[in-house]
Protein backbone atom coordinates (compact mmCIF):
# COMPACT_ATOMS: atom_id res chain seq x y z
CA UNK A 1 0.00 0.00 0.00
CA UNK A 2 2.78 2.37 1.03
CA UNK A 3 4.77 1.39 -2.00
CA UNK A 4 1.89 2.29 -4.26
CA UNK A 5 1.61 5.73 -2.72
CA UNK A 6 5.27 6.33 -3.33
CA UNK A 7 5.03 5.37 -6.97
CA UNK A 8 1.97 7.61 -7.33
CA UNK A 9 3.97 10.50 -5.95
CA UNK A 10 6.83 9.72 -8.28
CA UNK A 11 4.40 9.59 -11.16
CA UNK A 12 2.96 13.01 -10.40
CA UNK A 13 6.38 14.58 -9.82
CA UNK A 14 7.57 13.35 -13.19
CA UNK A 15 4.34 14.54 -14.77
CA UNK A 16 4.78 17.99 -13.26
CA UNK A 17 8.39 18.09 -14.45
CA UNK A 18 7.47 17.42 -18.06
CA UNK A 19 4.52 19.78 -17.86
CA UNK A 20 6.83 22.58 -16.68
CA UNK A 21 9.20 21.84 -19.53
CA UNK A 22 6.38 21.94 -22.01
CA UNK A 23 4.92 25.15 -20.68
CA UNK A 24 8.33 26.85 -20.36
CA UNK A 25 8.70 27.81 -24.03
CA UNK A 26 5.18 29.19 -24.02
CA UNK A 27 6.01 31.25 -20.95
CA UNK A 28 9.23 32.52 -22.51
CA UNK A 29 7.32 33.57 -25.61
CA UNK A 30 4.70 35.42 -23.60
CA UNK A 31 7.43 36.96 -21.44
CA UNK A 32 9.26 38.33 -24.47
CA UNK A 33 6.03 39.59 -25.97
CA UNK A 34 5.01 41.30 -22.73
CA UNK A 35 8.45 42.89 -22.31
CA UNK A 36 8.40 44.21 -25.87
CA UNK A 37 4.86 45.47 -25.53
CA UNK A 38 5.34 47.28 -22.23
CA UNK A 39 8.67 48.82 -23.27
CA UNK A 40 7.24 49.86 -26.62
CA UNK A 41 4.05 51.53 -25.37
CA UNK A 42 5.76 54.54 -23.66
CA UNK A 43 7.21 55.48 -27.06
CA UNK A 44 3.79 56.58 -28.20
CA UNK A 45 3.43 59.14 -25.45
CA UNK A 46 5.61 61.36 -27.61
CA UNK A 47 5.46 59.79 -31.04
CA UNK A 48 2.35 60.10 -33.14
CA UNK A 49 1.13 56.61 -34.11
CA UNK A 50 0.36 57.82 -37.60
CA UNK A 51 3.86 59.26 -38.00
CA UNK A 52 5.40 56.02 -36.74
CA UNK A 53 3.71 53.85 -39.33
CA UNK A 54 3.44 56.19 -42.31
CA UNK A 55 6.51 58.42 -42.23
CA UNK A 56 9.57 57.25 -44.12
CA UNK A 57 11.94 59.44 -42.09
CA UNK A 58 13.81 57.87 -39.19
CA UNK A 59 16.24 60.26 -37.53
CA UNK A 60 16.03 60.20 -33.72
CA UNK A 61 19.40 61.93 -33.15
CA UNK A 62 18.77 64.82 -35.52
CA UNK A 63 19.98 68.19 -34.27
CA UNK A 64 17.15 69.85 -36.22
CA UNK A 65 13.99 67.79 -35.70
CA UNK A 66 13.62 64.22 -34.56
CA UNK A 67 11.72 61.85 -36.82
CA UNK A 68 10.39 58.43 -35.93
CA UNK A 69 8.95 56.79 -39.05
CA UNK A 70 9.53 53.11 -39.75
CA UNK A 71 8.23 52.88 -43.31
CA UNK A 72 11.67 52.94 -44.97
CA UNK A 73 13.12 50.21 -42.78
CA UNK A 74 10.05 47.99 -43.08
CA UNK A 75 10.37 48.33 -46.85
CA UNK A 76 14.09 47.57 -46.58
CA UNK A 77 13.48 44.45 -44.50
CA UNK A 78 10.85 43.14 -46.91
CA UNK A 79 12.99 43.90 -49.95
CA UNK A 80 16.03 41.95 -48.78
CA UNK A 81 13.94 39.05 -47.46
CA UNK A 82 11.82 38.73 -50.60
CA UNK A 83 14.91 39.08 -52.77
CA UNK A 84 16.60 36.35 -50.76
CA UNK A 85 13.58 34.05 -51.16
CA UNK A 86 13.40 34.65 -54.92
CA UNK A 87 17.00 33.48 -55.16
CA UNK A 88 16.97 30.76 -52.51
CA UNK A 89 13.67 28.93 -53.15
CA UNK A 90 14.35 27.71 -56.73
CA UNK A 91 17.98 26.85 -55.97
CA UNK A 92 17.07 25.24 -52.65
CA UNK A 93 14.27 23.05 -54.00
CA UNK A 94 16.35 22.22 -57.06
CA UNK A 95 19.25 21.11 -54.91
CA UNK A 96 16.95 19.10 -52.65
CA UNK A 97 15.36 17.35 -55.64
CA UNK A 98 18.76 16.58 -57.09
CA UNK A 99 19.99 15.15 -53.80
CA UNK A 100 16.94 13.01 -53.15
CA UNK A 101 16.11 11.81 -56.68
CA UNK A 102 19.00 12.19 -59.05
CA UNK A 103 22.26 11.99 -57.16
CA UNK A 104 24.01 8.73 -56.48
CA UNK A 105 23.81 7.92 -52.77
CA UNK A 106 27.57 8.40 -52.46
CA UNK A 107 27.29 11.92 -53.84
CA UNK A 108 24.40 12.65 -51.47
CA UNK A 109 26.36 11.41 -48.47
CA UNK A 110 29.11 13.91 -49.31
CA UNK A 111 27.11 16.88 -50.59
CA UNK A 112 24.39 17.06 -47.94
CA UNK A 113 26.73 17.45 -44.95
CA UNK A 114 28.65 20.10 -46.89
CA UNK A 115 25.44 22.06 -47.50
CA UNK A 116 24.68 21.80 -43.80
CA UNK A 117 28.13 23.07 -42.87
CA UNK A 118 27.23 26.22 -44.83
CA UNK A 119 24.75 26.99 -42.04
CA UNK A 120 27.61 27.11 -39.56
CA UNK A 121 29.47 29.98 -41.22
CA UNK A 122 29.21 33.00 -38.90
CA UNK A 123 27.08 35.85 -40.28
CA UNK A 124 29.95 38.30 -39.81
CA UNK A 125 32.05 36.28 -42.23
CA UNK A 126 29.25 36.24 -44.80
CA UNK A 127 28.81 40.00 -44.38
CA UNK A 128 32.51 40.42 -44.94
CA UNK A 129 32.23 38.45 -48.19
CA UNK A 130 29.48 40.86 -49.19
CA UNK A 131 31.75 43.86 -48.73
CA UNK A 132 34.94 42.61 -50.36
CA UNK A 133 33.65 40.06 -52.91
CA UNK A 134 30.00 40.47 -53.93
CA UNK A 135 29.97 44.28 -53.63
CA UNK A 136 32.59 44.96 -56.34
CA UNK A 137 31.18 42.20 -58.60
CA UNK A 138 27.62 43.55 -58.35
CA UNK A 139 28.88 47.10 -58.98
CA UNK A 140 30.50 45.89 -62.20
CA UNK A 141 27.48 43.88 -63.38
CA UNK A 142 24.95 46.65 -62.79
CA UNK A 143 27.25 49.53 -63.64
CA UNK A 144 26.73 51.26 -60.29
CA UNK A 145 29.49 52.98 -58.37
CA UNK A 146 29.26 50.54 -55.46
CA UNK A 147 27.68 47.25 -54.49
CA UNK A 148 26.35 48.10 -51.05
CA UNK A 149 22.67 47.66 -51.90
CA UNK A 150 19.58 45.51 -51.45
CA UNK A 151 20.67 42.91 -54.03
CA UNK A 152 23.90 42.32 -52.15
CA UNK A 153 21.94 41.75 -48.93
CA UNK A 154 19.48 39.46 -50.72
CA UNK A 155 22.29 37.34 -52.17
CA UNK A 156 23.97 36.92 -48.80
CA UNK A 157 20.70 36.12 -47.02
CA UNK A 158 19.91 33.59 -49.76
CA UNK A 159 23.22 31.88 -49.01
CA UNK A 160 22.32 31.82 -45.32
CA UNK A 161 18.80 30.48 -45.92
CA UNK A 162 19.89 27.80 -48.41
CA UNK A 163 21.14 25.16 -45.95
CA UNK A 164 17.83 25.23 -44.06
CA UNK A 165 15.74 25.02 -47.22
CA UNK A 166 17.86 22.29 -48.84
CA UNK A 167 18.21 20.15 -45.75
CA UNK A 168 14.56 20.16 -44.65
CA UNK A 169 13.18 19.87 -48.20
CA UNK A 170 15.47 16.94 -48.90
CA UNK A 171 14.35 15.24 -45.68
CA UNK A 172 10.70 15.61 -46.59
CA UNK A 173 11.28 14.47 -50.19
CA UNK A 174 13.08 11.38 -48.91
CA UNK A 175 10.24 10.75 -46.47
CA UNK A 176 7.68 10.33 -49.28
CA UNK A 177 6.78 6.63 -49.17
CA UNK A 178 8.47 4.60 -51.87
CA UNK A 179 5.09 3.17 -52.87
CA UNK A 180 4.08 6.61 -54.22
CA UNK A 181 6.90 6.81 -56.72
CA UNK A 182 6.67 3.09 -57.51
CA UNK A 183 2.99 3.51 -58.37
CA UNK A 184 3.70 6.58 -60.48
CA UNK A 185 6.48 4.88 -62.40
CA UNK A 186 4.32 1.76 -62.89
CA UNK A 187 1.62 3.94 -64.44
CA UNK A 188 4.09 4.99 -67.10
CA UNK A 189 5.21 8.36 -65.76
CA UNK A 190 8.85 9.16 -66.26
CA UNK A 191 11.14 10.23 -63.43
CA UNK A 192 10.63 13.96 -64.07
CA UNK A 193 6.84 13.59 -63.99
CA UNK A 194 7.10 11.49 -60.85
CA UNK A 195 9.22 14.12 -59.13
CA UNK A 196 7.15 17.14 -60.15
CA UNK A 197 3.62 15.73 -60.01
CA UNK A 198 3.91 13.14 -57.22
CA UNK A 199 6.85 13.62 -54.91
CA UNK A 200 6.99 17.42 -54.70
CA UNK A 201 3.22 17.78 -53.97
CA UNK A 202 3.42 14.94 -51.45
CA UNK A 203 6.20 16.67 -49.55
CA UNK A 204 4.80 20.18 -49.93
CA UNK A 205 4.15 20.61 -46.22
CA UNK A 206 7.80 19.98 -45.44
CA UNK A 207 8.95 22.28 -48.21
CA UNK A 208 6.69 25.10 -47.03
CA UNK A 209 8.04 24.65 -43.52
CA UNK A 210 11.58 24.79 -44.91
CA UNK A 211 10.87 27.99 -46.85
CA UNK A 212 9.23 29.61 -43.83
CA UNK A 213 12.17 28.75 -41.60
CA UNK A 214 14.52 30.16 -44.22
CA UNK A 215 12.41 33.31 -44.49
CA UNK A 216 12.44 33.68 -40.70
CA UNK A 217 16.19 33.55 -40.72
CA UNK A 218 16.35 36.15 -43.49
CA UNK A 219 14.03 38.64 -41.76
CA UNK A 220 15.74 38.31 -38.40
CA UNK A 221 19.32 38.33 -39.65
CA UNK A 222 21.23 41.38 -38.49
CA UNK A 223 24.98 41.38 -38.91
CA UNK A 224 25.09 40.40 -42.57
CA UNK A 225 22.69 43.08 -43.79
CA UNK A 226 24.24 45.61 -41.44
CA UNK A 227 27.57 45.11 -43.16
CA UNK A 228 26.52 44.69 -46.78
CA UNK A 229 23.57 46.95 -47.52
CA UNK A 230 25.07 50.35 -46.70
CA UNK A 231 22.40 51.30 -44.10
CA UNK A 232 21.25 54.51 -45.80
CA UNK A 233 18.01 55.45 -44.01
CA UNK A 234 16.33 56.87 -47.14
CA UNK A 235 13.27 55.12 -48.60
CA UNK A 236 14.62 52.55 -51.11
CA UNK A 237 14.26 53.54 -54.76
CA UNK A 238 14.83 49.99 -55.97
CA UNK A 239 16.97 46.94 -55.51
CA UNK A 240 20.07 48.90 -56.50
CA UNK A 241 19.78 51.45 -53.71
CA UNK A 242 21.29 51.16 -50.28
CA UNK A 243 18.79 50.12 -47.63
CA UNK A 244 18.60 49.85 -43.86
CA UNK A 245 16.62 47.04 -42.24
CA UNK A 246 14.74 47.05 -38.94
CA UNK A 247 17.26 44.70 -37.33
CA UNK A 248 20.19 46.87 -38.42
CA UNK A 249 18.52 49.98 -36.99
CA UNK A 250 18.03 48.33 -33.62
CA UNK A 251 21.56 46.93 -33.57
CA UNK A 252 23.17 50.24 -34.54
CA UNK A 253 21.22 52.47 -32.20
CA UNK A 254 20.56 50.42 -29.07
CA UNK A 255 24.23 50.53 -28.06
CA UNK A 256 24.33 54.29 -27.54
CA UNK A 257 20.77 55.22 -26.69
CA UNK A 258 20.18 56.73 -23.22
CA UNK A 259 17.98 54.31 -21.27
CA UNK A 260 14.29 55.17 -20.83
CA UNK A 261 14.33 57.93 -23.45
CA UNK A 262 11.79 58.20 -26.27
CA UNK A 263 14.42 56.91 -28.67
CA UNK A 264 14.97 53.85 -26.44
CA UNK A 265 11.24 53.06 -26.31
CA UNK A 266 10.93 53.67 -30.06
CA UNK A 267 13.58 51.01 -30.74
CA UNK A 268 11.54 48.55 -28.71
CA UNK A 269 8.50 49.54 -30.75
CA UNK A 270 10.47 48.65 -33.88
CA UNK A 271 11.33 45.33 -32.25
CA UNK A 272 7.66 44.73 -31.48
CA UNK A 273 6.68 45.36 -35.11
CA UNK A 274 9.41 42.97 -36.25
CA UNK A 275 8.18 40.35 -33.77
CA UNK A 276 4.60 40.73 -35.00
CA UNK A 277 5.69 40.34 -38.63
CA UNK A 278 7.55 37.09 -37.98
CA UNK A 279 4.71 35.89 -35.73
CA UNK A 280 2.12 36.46 -38.45
CA UNK A 281 4.36 34.75 -41.00
CA UNK A 282 4.70 31.70 -38.78
CA UNK A 283 0.98 31.66 -38.08
CA UNK A 284 0.20 31.85 -41.80
CA UNK A 285 2.55 28.99 -42.59
CA UNK A 286 0.90 26.94 -39.84
CA UNK A 287 -2.54 27.62 -41.26
CA UNK A 288 -1.41 26.70 -44.78
CA UNK A 289 0.22 23.53 -43.49
CA UNK A 290 -2.89 22.45 -41.59
CA UNK A 291 -5.19 23.14 -44.50
CA UNK A 292 -2.97 21.17 -46.80
CA UNK A 293 -2.73 18.22 -44.44
CA UNK A 294 -6.50 18.13 -43.98
CA UNK A 295 -6.97 17.95 -47.72
CA UNK A 296 -4.46 15.16 -47.95
CA UNK A 297 -6.40 13.10 -45.45
Amino acid sequence: MKKKKFSDLKESVIKAFFFTNGILTVMILFGIFALLLFTAIPAFREIDLKEFFTSHQWNPTSPVKEHYGILSMVAGTFMVSLGAMIIAIPIGIGTASYLSDVAHWKVREIVKPIVEILAGIPSVVIGFLGIVLFGPILAKIFGTSNGLNAINGSLLLAIMALPTIVSISEDSLSAVPKTYSDASLALGANRWQTLVRVKLPASLSGIIAAVMLGMGRAIGETMTVLMATGNAPAFPRGFLSSIRTMTATIAIELGEVPYYSTHYYALFAVGLVLFLITFILNLLSDVILNKYQEREQ
Binding site: Q57, N59, P60, T61, S62, P63, V64, S72, I131, V132, G135, P136, A139, S145, N146, G147, L148, L226, M227, G230, N231, A232, P233, A234, F235, S241, S242, R244, I252, E253, G255, E256, P258
Partner: protein, 301 residues
Protein backbone atom coordinates in the same frame (compact mmCIF):
# COMPACT_ATOMS: atom_id res chain seq x y z
CA UNK B 1 36.22 2.31 -9.51
CA UNK B 2 37.87 4.20 -6.69
CA UNK B 3 40.61 5.40 -9.02
CA UNK B 4 38.02 6.68 -11.44
CA UNK B 5 36.27 8.63 -8.70
CA UNK B 6 39.50 10.17 -7.51
CA UNK B 7 40.33 11.14 -11.07
CA UNK B 8 36.94 12.78 -11.45
CA UNK B 9 37.32 14.77 -8.24
CA UNK B 10 40.83 15.73 -9.28
CA UNK B 11 39.69 17.11 -12.63
CA UNK B 12 36.83 18.95 -10.98
CA UNK B 13 39.22 20.55 -8.50
CA UNK B 14 41.63 21.52 -11.27
CA UNK B 15 38.74 22.99 -13.20
CA UNK B 16 37.73 25.10 -10.21
CA UNK B 17 41.26 26.37 -9.76
CA UNK B 18 41.49 27.38 -13.41
CA UNK B 19 38.07 28.93 -13.38
CA UNK B 20 38.77 30.99 -10.27
CA UNK B 21 42.15 31.94 -11.73
CA UNK B 22 40.54 33.41 -14.83
CA UNK B 23 37.94 35.22 -12.78
CA UNK B 24 40.69 36.71 -10.66
CA UNK B 25 42.73 37.90 -13.62
CA UNK B 26 39.62 39.23 -15.34
CA UNK B 27 39.05 41.42 -12.31
CA UNK B 28 42.45 43.02 -12.62
CA UNK B 29 42.22 43.54 -16.35
CA UNK B 30 41.68 47.15 -17.40
CA UNK B 31 38.65 47.40 -19.68
CA UNK B 32 38.76 50.13 -22.33
CA UNK B 33 35.86 50.74 -24.69
CA UNK B 34 34.67 53.30 -27.20
CA UNK B 35 35.73 55.27 -30.25
CA UNK B 36 36.50 53.27 -33.35
CA UNK B 37 38.81 56.06 -34.53
CA UNK B 38 41.31 55.48 -31.73
CA UNK B 39 40.76 51.79 -31.01
CA UNK B 40 43.87 50.80 -33.00
CA UNK B 41 46.00 53.51 -31.40
CA UNK B 42 44.94 52.58 -27.86
CA UNK B 43 45.42 48.89 -28.68
CA UNK B 44 49.03 49.54 -29.72
CA UNK B 45 49.62 51.82 -26.73
CA UNK B 46 48.34 49.12 -24.41
CA UNK B 47 50.49 46.45 -26.06
CA UNK B 48 53.59 48.60 -25.55
CA UNK B 49 52.47 49.30 -21.98
CA UNK B 50 52.02 45.60 -21.27
CA UNK B 51 55.42 44.81 -22.79
CA UNK B 52 57.03 47.30 -20.41
CA UNK B 53 54.93 46.24 -17.39
CA UNK B 54 54.70 42.45 -17.31
CA UNK B 55 51.69 41.17 -15.40
CA UNK B 56 49.41 44.07 -16.31
CA UNK B 57 46.52 43.32 -18.64
CA UNK B 58 44.41 45.66 -20.77
CA UNK B 59 41.48 44.79 -23.03
CA UNK B 60 40.56 47.34 -25.70
CA UNK B 61 37.25 47.31 -27.55
CA UNK B 62 35.68 49.56 -30.19
CA UNK B 63 31.98 50.20 -30.64
CA UNK B 64 31.90 53.96 -31.06
CA UNK B 65 32.27 56.94 -28.73
CA UNK B 66 28.62 56.86 -27.65
CA UNK B 67 28.93 53.19 -26.75
CA UNK B 68 32.11 53.84 -24.74
CA UNK B 69 30.61 56.69 -22.76
CA UNK B 70 27.46 54.65 -22.10
CA UNK B 71 29.68 51.82 -20.84
CA UNK B 72 31.55 54.18 -18.51
CA UNK B 73 28.27 55.48 -17.10
CA UNK B 74 26.93 51.94 -16.69
CA UNK B 75 30.18 50.89 -14.99
CA UNK B 76 31.16 48.24 -17.52
CA UNK B 77 34.52 49.76 -18.47
CA UNK B 78 37.39 51.54 -16.71
CA UNK B 79 38.30 53.94 -19.49
CA UNK B 80 36.06 55.29 -22.27
CA UNK B 81 37.68 56.39 -25.53
CA UNK B 82 35.82 59.16 -27.30
CA UNK B 83 36.47 61.32 -30.32
CA UNK B 84 33.97 64.03 -29.34
CA UNK B 85 33.34 65.87 -26.07
CA UNK B 86 30.55 64.52 -23.89
CA UNK B 87 27.07 65.68 -24.88
CA UNK B 88 25.05 67.65 -22.35
CA UNK B 89 22.58 64.73 -22.15
CA UNK B 90 25.44 62.43 -21.18
CA UNK B 91 26.73 64.91 -18.59
CA UNK B 92 23.30 65.05 -16.99
CA UNK B 93 23.19 61.25 -16.96
CA UNK B 94 26.64 61.17 -15.29
CA UNK B 95 25.38 63.46 -12.55
CA UNK B 96 22.27 61.35 -12.03
CA UNK B 97 24.31 58.17 -11.74
CA UNK B 98 27.02 59.88 -9.67
CA UNK B 99 29.73 59.25 -12.23
CA UNK B 100 32.52 61.78 -11.63
CA UNK B 101 34.22 61.85 -15.02
CA UNK B 102 37.84 62.88 -15.50
CA UNK B 103 38.68 63.55 -19.15
CA UNK B 104 42.14 63.50 -20.74
CA UNK B 105 43.20 64.50 -24.23
CA UNK B 106 45.48 61.77 -25.57
CA UNK B 107 46.12 62.82 -29.18
CA UNK B 108 45.11 65.23 -31.93
CA UNK B 109 43.44 63.94 -35.08
CA UNK B 110 43.38 65.61 -38.47
CA UNK B 111 40.03 64.23 -39.58
CA UNK B 112 40.58 63.31 -43.23
CA UNK B 113 38.15 63.66 -46.11
CA UNK B 114 38.89 60.97 -48.70
CA UNK B 115 37.84 60.34 -52.31
CA UNK B 116 38.63 57.70 -54.93
CA UNK B 117 42.12 57.91 -56.39
CA UNK B 118 40.75 58.56 -59.92
CA UNK B 119 38.84 61.62 -58.71
CA UNK B 120 40.64 64.69 -60.13
CA UNK B 121 39.73 66.87 -57.13
CA UNK B 122 42.60 67.56 -54.75
CA UNK B 123 41.12 70.15 -52.39
CA UNK B 124 37.79 71.49 -51.23
CA UNK B 125 36.26 74.20 -49.09
CA UNK B 126 34.59 73.18 -45.80
CA UNK B 127 31.26 74.68 -46.85
CA UNK B 128 31.19 72.54 -50.01
CA UNK B 129 31.92 69.37 -48.04
CA UNK B 130 29.08 70.28 -45.71
CA UNK B 131 26.72 70.84 -48.65
CA UNK B 132 27.68 67.47 -50.13
CA UNK B 133 26.95 65.65 -46.86
CA UNK B 134 23.69 67.52 -46.31
CA UNK B 135 22.61 66.33 -49.74
CA UNK B 136 22.44 69.86 -51.21
CA UNK B 137 25.13 69.01 -53.75
CA UNK B 138 24.57 65.60 -55.35
CA UNK B 139 26.82 65.58 -58.43
CA UNK B 140 30.59 65.86 -58.61
CA UNK B 141 30.38 68.30 -61.53
CA UNK B 142 28.87 70.92 -59.21
CA UNK B 143 32.20 71.10 -57.39
CA UNK B 144 34.40 70.84 -60.47
CA UNK B 145 34.65 67.07 -60.73
CA UNK B 146 33.40 64.54 -63.29
CA UNK B 147 29.68 64.16 -64.09
CA UNK B 148 28.85 61.45 -61.52
CA UNK B 149 26.30 61.17 -58.72
CA UNK B 150 28.18 61.48 -55.43
CA UNK B 151 27.94 58.47 -53.18
CA UNK B 152 28.32 59.38 -49.54
CA UNK B 153 30.05 57.27 -46.91
CA UNK B 154 29.76 58.15 -43.25
CA UNK B 155 29.54 56.60 -39.82
CA UNK B 156 26.60 55.50 -37.69
CA UNK B 157 25.05 57.73 -35.06
CA UNK B 158 26.92 56.04 -32.18
CA UNK B 159 30.19 57.33 -33.64
CA UNK B 160 31.92 60.39 -32.22
CA UNK B 161 33.24 61.18 -35.69
CA UNK B 162 29.63 61.23 -36.97
CA UNK B 163 28.69 63.79 -34.31
CA UNK B 164 31.86 65.87 -34.67
CA UNK B 165 31.44 66.07 -38.45
CA UNK B 166 27.77 66.95 -38.11
CA UNK B 167 28.55 69.80 -35.74
CA UNK B 168 31.63 71.23 -37.41
CA UNK B 169 31.17 70.55 -41.10
CA UNK B 170 27.42 70.20 -41.65
CA UNK B 171 26.59 73.11 -39.37
CA UNK B 172 24.39 71.02 -37.05
CA UNK B 173 22.12 70.01 -39.93
CA UNK B 174 20.92 66.54 -40.83
CA UNK B 175 23.00 64.19 -42.93
CA UNK B 176 21.56 63.25 -46.31
CA UNK B 177 19.36 60.15 -45.85
CA UNK B 178 21.20 58.60 -48.80
CA UNK B 179 24.49 58.51 -46.90
CA UNK B 180 25.66 54.97 -46.32
CA UNK B 181 26.12 54.42 -42.59
CA UNK B 182 29.22 52.25 -42.24
CA UNK B 183 30.33 50.28 -39.20
CA UNK B 184 33.76 51.83 -38.79
CA UNK B 185 36.60 53.84 -40.28
CA UNK B 186 38.10 50.81 -42.02
CA UNK B 187 34.81 50.08 -43.83
CA UNK B 188 34.60 53.66 -45.09
CA UNK B 189 38.14 53.42 -46.44
CA UNK B 190 37.30 50.08 -48.05
CA UNK B 191 34.14 51.54 -49.59
CA UNK B 192 35.79 54.67 -51.01
CA UNK B 193 38.71 52.70 -52.48
CA UNK B 194 36.21 50.69 -54.53
CA UNK B 195 33.77 53.50 -55.33
CA UNK B 196 34.76 55.89 -58.13
CA UNK B 197 32.19 58.48 -56.99
CA UNK B 198 32.66 57.94 -53.27
CA UNK B 199 33.55 60.43 -50.54
CA UNK B 200 34.19 59.57 -46.90
CA UNK B 201 35.60 60.94 -43.64
CA UNK B 202 37.94 59.00 -41.36
CA UNK B 203 40.52 59.54 -38.63
CA UNK B 204 43.95 60.32 -40.09
CA UNK B 205 45.30 57.08 -38.61
CA UNK B 206 43.29 55.16 -41.19
CA UNK B 207 44.73 56.82 -44.31
CA UNK B 208 48.32 56.14 -43.30
CA UNK B 209 50.05 53.12 -44.76
CA UNK B 210 51.16 51.01 -41.79
CA UNK B 211 54.55 50.21 -43.33
CA UNK B 212 55.76 53.35 -45.05
CA UNK B 213 54.02 55.75 -42.61
CA UNK B 214 52.84 57.82 -45.57
CA UNK B 215 49.39 58.45 -47.05
CA UNK B 216 48.05 55.31 -48.74
CA UNK B 217 48.40 55.42 -52.50
CA UNK B 218 45.04 53.75 -53.27
CA UNK B 219 42.97 56.80 -52.32
CA UNK B 220 43.12 60.60 -52.35
CA UNK B 221 43.07 62.65 -49.16
CA UNK B 222 41.57 66.06 -49.89
CA UNK B 223 43.23 69.22 -48.67
CA UNK B 224 40.64 71.25 -46.84
CA UNK B 225 40.28 75.05 -46.77
CA UNK B 226 38.38 76.96 -44.11
CA UNK B 227 36.67 79.21 -46.67
CA UNK B 228 37.02 80.44 -50.24
CA UNK B 229 39.75 82.95 -49.30
CA UNK B 230 42.02 80.71 -47.28
CA UNK B 231 44.56 78.16 -48.45
CA UNK B 232 43.78 74.42 -48.32
CA UNK B 233 45.88 72.29 -45.99
CA UNK B 234 46.56 68.59 -45.70
CA UNK B 235 45.57 66.74 -42.50
CA UNK B 236 49.17 65.49 -42.45
CA UNK B 237 50.49 69.04 -42.10
CA UNK B 238 51.44 69.22 -38.44
CA UNK B 239 51.91 72.98 -38.36
CA UNK B 240 48.49 73.59 -39.96
CA UNK B 241 46.77 71.22 -37.55
CA UNK B 242 48.48 72.84 -34.54
CA UNK B 243 47.65 76.38 -35.66
CA UNK B 244 44.06 75.50 -36.52
CA UNK B 245 44.52 76.30 -40.22
CA UNK B 246 43.44 72.76 -41.01
CA UNK B 247 39.78 73.23 -40.12
CA UNK B 248 38.67 69.72 -39.15
CA UNK B 249 41.32 68.85 -36.57
CA UNK B 250 40.04 67.69 -33.21
CA UNK B 251 41.26 66.33 -29.88
CA UNK B 252 40.73 62.67 -28.99
CA UNK B 253 39.74 61.85 -25.44
CA UNK B 254 39.82 59.24 -22.71
CA UNK B 255 37.59 59.46 -19.66
CA UNK B 256 37.60 57.64 -16.34
CA UNK B 257 35.09 57.45 -13.53
CA UNK B 258 36.69 59.34 -10.66
CA UNK B 259 40.39 59.88 -10.09
CA UNK B 260 42.38 57.26 -12.02
CA UNK B 261 44.11 54.87 -9.67
CA UNK B 262 46.52 51.95 -9.80
CA UNK B 263 47.09 50.45 -13.23
CA UNK B 264 44.66 52.86 -14.91
CA UNK B 265 46.70 55.82 -13.65
CA UNK B 266 49.93 54.13 -14.76
CA UNK B 267 48.50 53.62 -18.25
CA UNK B 268 47.35 57.23 -18.59
CA UNK B 269 50.75 58.43 -17.37
CA UNK B 270 52.35 56.20 -19.99
CA UNK B 271 50.27 57.77 -22.78
CA UNK B 272 51.31 61.24 -21.61
CA UNK B 273 54.98 60.27 -21.48
CA UNK B 274 57.33 61.11 -24.38
CA UNK B 275 57.41 57.38 -25.18
CA UNK B 276 53.62 57.19 -25.42
CA UNK B 277 53.37 60.32 -27.53
CA UNK B 278 56.02 58.92 -29.89
CA UNK B 279 53.67 55.98 -30.52
CA UNK B 280 50.80 58.42 -31.10
CA UNK B 281 52.88 60.14 -33.76
CA UNK B 282 53.98 56.85 -35.32
CA UNK B 283 50.32 55.85 -35.79
CA UNK B 284 49.59 58.97 -37.83
CA UNK B 285 48.00 61.11 -35.12
CA UNK B 286 49.53 64.28 -33.72
CA UNK B 287 51.08 64.40 -30.25
CA UNK B 288 49.58 66.65 -27.60
CA UNK B 289 51.57 69.69 -26.57
CA UNK B 290 53.10 70.53 -23.17
CA UNK B 291 50.08 72.56 -22.07
CA UNK B 292 47.67 69.68 -22.61
CA UNK B 293 50.02 67.26 -20.85
CA UNK B 294 50.21 69.49 -17.78
CA UNK B 295 46.39 69.86 -17.88
CA UNK B 296 46.12 66.07 -17.99
CA UNK B 297 48.38 65.68 -14.96
CA UNK B 298 46.42 68.31 -13.04
CA UNK B 299 43.27 66.42 -13.91
CA UNK B 300 44.66 63.21 -12.43
CA UNK B 301 44.88 64.67 -8.94
Amino acid sequence: MKGKKLFLIGTLLLGFIFASGTVYSAKRMIQIKGSDTIVNLVQILSEEFMARNPGKAIAVMGGGSGTGIAALINGTCDIANHSRPMKSKEKILCKEKRVDTRTFVIAIDGLSVIVHKDNPLKEMIMEKIGAIYRGDITNWKEVGGPDMVISLYGRQSNSGTFVFFQEHVLGKQDYSPHMKRMNGNAQIVEGVIQDKSGIGYVGVGYVIDTKSRKIRNDLTVLNVAKNAESKAYSPMDKAAVDSGDYPVARPLFQSTNGKPEGDVALFIKFINSPEGQKIVEREGFFPIGKDIISDNFKNMK
